[in-house]
Assembly symmetry: C2
Homo-oligomer: 153 residues x 2
């Protein structure tokens, strides 16, 4: 099964968090599970905050990329389009809010689950949560914006 990120056009697949072509990056993979999007991720031993716990910046990063990927997938779904149809949808982050509910233990794999809160025009709002061994440790909310044609110009 292809992940959301496997559909990114080649020139947009370099992202450190989710680009399949960035050999230094996290290369996360996100899939549908019913109406939720799901990413599994195993931090490295050096992704530490206080010893024994996952670095908060990594958690923010994974939430960010999980959510923008989920936003693109949600937009395809809302338009009843396949993810390999043209033109491709790709989203950037307008804002990212992360609430650290409790320390996330470093060791077990993490599960990030996303829910679509809103689709309006070019904006998609995704709520994402981080789970480890059945415990929810982090809540995130991403306002994702469909990438403009002139992005960065």
């Amino acid at each position: 099964m292809r992940a959301f990120q496997d559909y990114y056009p080649e020139h947009l697949a370099q992202c450190y968090g989710c680009g399949r072509l960035n050999e230094h990056g996290y290369r996360i993979k996100t899939y549908w599970d019913g109406n939720e999007s799901v990413t599994h991720f195993s931090p490295r031993t050096f992704h530490t905050a206080v010893p024994g716990f996952v670095y908060g910046g990594l958690l923010a990063s994974i939430i960010d990329c999980h959510s923008t990927a989920s936003a693109a997938a949600a937009m395809y779904r809302s338009q009843v389009r396949e993810m390999d149809s043209e033109p491709p949808f790709r989203f950037v982050t307008g804002s990212l809010l992360v609430r650290y509910l409790k320390p996330t233990p470093l060791g077990p794999p993490l599960t990030i689950r996303g829910q679509v809160q809103e689709i309006k025009g070019r904006k998609v709002v995704i709520k994402s949560t981080v789970w480890v061994e059945g415990v929810r440790t982090v809540d995130g909310e991403v306002v994702a914006i469909q990438m403009p044609e002139n992005f960065g110009i």
Copy 2:
């Protein structure tokens, strides 16, 4: 001149973002500049989002660690204490909000500037901004909480 992070006790200096002892991490260094805190950081070429621009997760990470370091420094200042006095202050992130105002070009060094918004009990709120070549590209707000003695227990 010693940076804020140079005062972290050894067992709390492993953080991927700001721990001077994490050889895989960013090892950011933060200093006072009057009433503002300042960090300079040069992303690597692979810290990319869309080609040519800095990865948003990295920007969130740097804002996070810059802000928790600034929170500790602000608490020492508010108590008219030197940063090498005991007991040490160390802060964790309660929440992190990042607004991406415009794409951040990848190449030039980044400057992150922090301002203390509030100190109340064990909570410090820091507003941080990212600048590149004189342009403000990202706004951040971190609610930092003084690390409890039983953190993670």
